[in-house]
Amino acid sequence: MPPVDVAAEVTSNQPLSADYNVLTLAAPAIAAAAAPGQFVMVKAGLGHDPLLRRPFSVFEVLRDARGAPTGISILNKRIGASTELLYAARQGQRLACLGPLGQPFVPVDPPVEAWMVAGGVGLAPFAALGESLSGRGVRATLFYGARRAAELFYLDFFRDLGVELVLTTEDGTAGERGRITVPLERALASRALVTPGAPPMIYACGPEAMMAAAAKLAMRYHAPCFVSMERTMGCGLGGCYGCVVAVRGPHGRAHHVRSCLAGPVMAGDQILWD
């Protein structure tokens, strides 16, 4: 189905911290079509400043009492002009929202296990993915790192889905102190000892350095790995060639692919991490 553009009503705006909030948007058509890992392009503000839409992962797919899709939510982190406006969005306001766009995560089925690796706002695609995995009966773990305990969100949501949690914070206020790739590596190593030949599927989203580390660990331990790449996007539709990621090309050369079409979810071992 081609993406649709909806003047989506903001049905709620839930602040999670001084920088993070969750916006729920009424957009049944997008909700009905969205798969975990896909994104929407949202226009914040009227007028030409800010000008372009911004990409946001589909965080949750919202449903009514009978299970019919009614909208989506996005997990927003305030870092600049558009995310500032979305942080301050008010209920009743309408936001142009185009989607769903891009390649979703490739799902797995039992007995393969799924390990989600999230850094900061990189949690965004994993609420929907976690739900989908739990629906398929896949055993899932969320490795989730943030700066501090107060920036670890939705933990109960994942617990309720039966997702195991491995947490780190930079300041040590929750979980292990340090980077999330440290427990990830430990887990991969110990698993390789215990059940060699049955690697988990790794899904990663977060800062590029984190994803690169996760992808390289996955390669080292022969685990498949998909990452959700973040690039500045002009159009989200393949029109501008602004969002490219360098991948291994046909003849071993670097090749630029548009992450809005070929991604944002891409195989970690295909990317030329620099």
């Binding site: 000008l51 839409r53 500045t232 539709l237 029109g239 602004g242 490219v244 630029h256």
Partner: protein
């Protein structure tokens, strides 16, 4: 109501063209936009060969505008003809191919190859890409270069030839004149403005290519002025662009002197902009009793009203 526009031997059904580099090869939008309903589709700039372009970051937003330094990534003319043109033809798009060369010979060869291909309506000569040294900008910033490339291409094709001019010059109208004298059927203007943004935290340019091209509403008043200046300098049609974001902006360009317009950046913000633009133009024409869209072109009224204009 007559919305048609003539560019040399070509008649566009309406004045709205998707701007080169802002609409992929057109096929990306085939399921979203009725390609046959557009006046034309200017496809992404093509070299003879494939190119990978610049690394990311390639775009950065600026106030009411954006910089890009794509570096003309592209599949080359042969793959374009084999892989994209058939679908464009099937969708009944009026295809304007934007071509870029490093040398005069490359422009000529591109023009030859495309003239033999089925389904190409016109050639737009990109001699104005600010992002790469080889993208013809050496032609586009020299009057002789502009004249030479246009006349060389003119000799080898019957397709309408439309050089695309750079705004990064002191007097754009002299370039329009050189193009006209060399036999161009129309000129396109403007390409993007050479510009730059620096991340003050890292002190690094925000684009991998250091500099890039500014497009979007920010540049519209400069582009309108350039169209107005060129309208007074040449008689061939002008395809105007630069920051058009609604029907009023498109009409402003036509009143300034553009026979047709291209829309780029604004179609990123709203990919479904095309029918809105067309409706807006139609209702303007109704409201103002304009029977033919061509009757709007260059009708800006600079008449009386300003006695002290010369600066008393």
């Amino acid at each position: 109501m007559d919305l048609s526009v003539r560019i040399g031997t070509l008649t566009l059904q309406n004045p709205l063209i998707a701007a080169s580099g802002c609409f992929g090869y057109g096929v990306e939008y085939a399921d979203l936009v009725d390609l046959a309903s557009l006046g034309g589709v200017a496809v992404k700039g093509l070299f003879l060969e494939e190119r990978e372009g610049h690394p990311a970051p390639r775009i950065v937003e600026t106030p009411a505008g954006m910089l890009n330094a794509i570096g003309l990534q592209g599949i080359g003319v042969r793959r374009f003809i084999a892989e994209k043109l058939p679908e464009l033809r099937a969708r009944q798009a009026t295809v304007i191919v934007n071509i870029c060369g490093t040398t005069l010979d490359e422009y000529v060869e591109l023009a030859r190859i495309l003239s033999d291909a089925d389904g190409v309506a016109a050639l737009e000569l990109n001699i104005s890409c600010p992002n790469i040294k080889e993208g013809g900008i050496t032609f586009g910033c020299s009057l002789n270069g502009t004249f030479d490339v246009v006349s060389a291409v003119r000799k080898v094709t019957r397709l309408p030839v439309v050089p695309k001019l750079t705004p990064n010059v002191t007097d754009v109208s002299s370039f329009a004149r050189a193009a006209e004298e060399a036999g161009a059927d129309a000129v396109s203007l403007v390409n993007t403005f050479l510009a730059m943004a620096i991340d003050v935290e890292t002190r690094r340019p925000k684009l991998s290519n250091i500099v890039g091209g500014l497009s979007g509403p920010a540049i519209r008043p400069i582009a309108v002025r350039m169209v107005y200046e060129c309208r007074q300098a040449i008689t061939i049609p002008i395809i105007g662009m630069g920051g058009i974001a609604d029907a009023r902006d498109a009409i402003e360009f036509m009143i300034a002197g553009a026979s047709a317009v291209q829309v780029g950046t604004a179609s990123f913000v709203d990919p479904f902009i095309w029918p809105k633009l067309l409706d807006g133009i139609r209702s303007y024409m109704e409201r103002h009793h304009v029977a033919r869209v061509a009757d709007l072109v260059g009708t800006v009224d600079t008449g009386p009203a300003a006695p002290e204009r010369s600066g008393a």
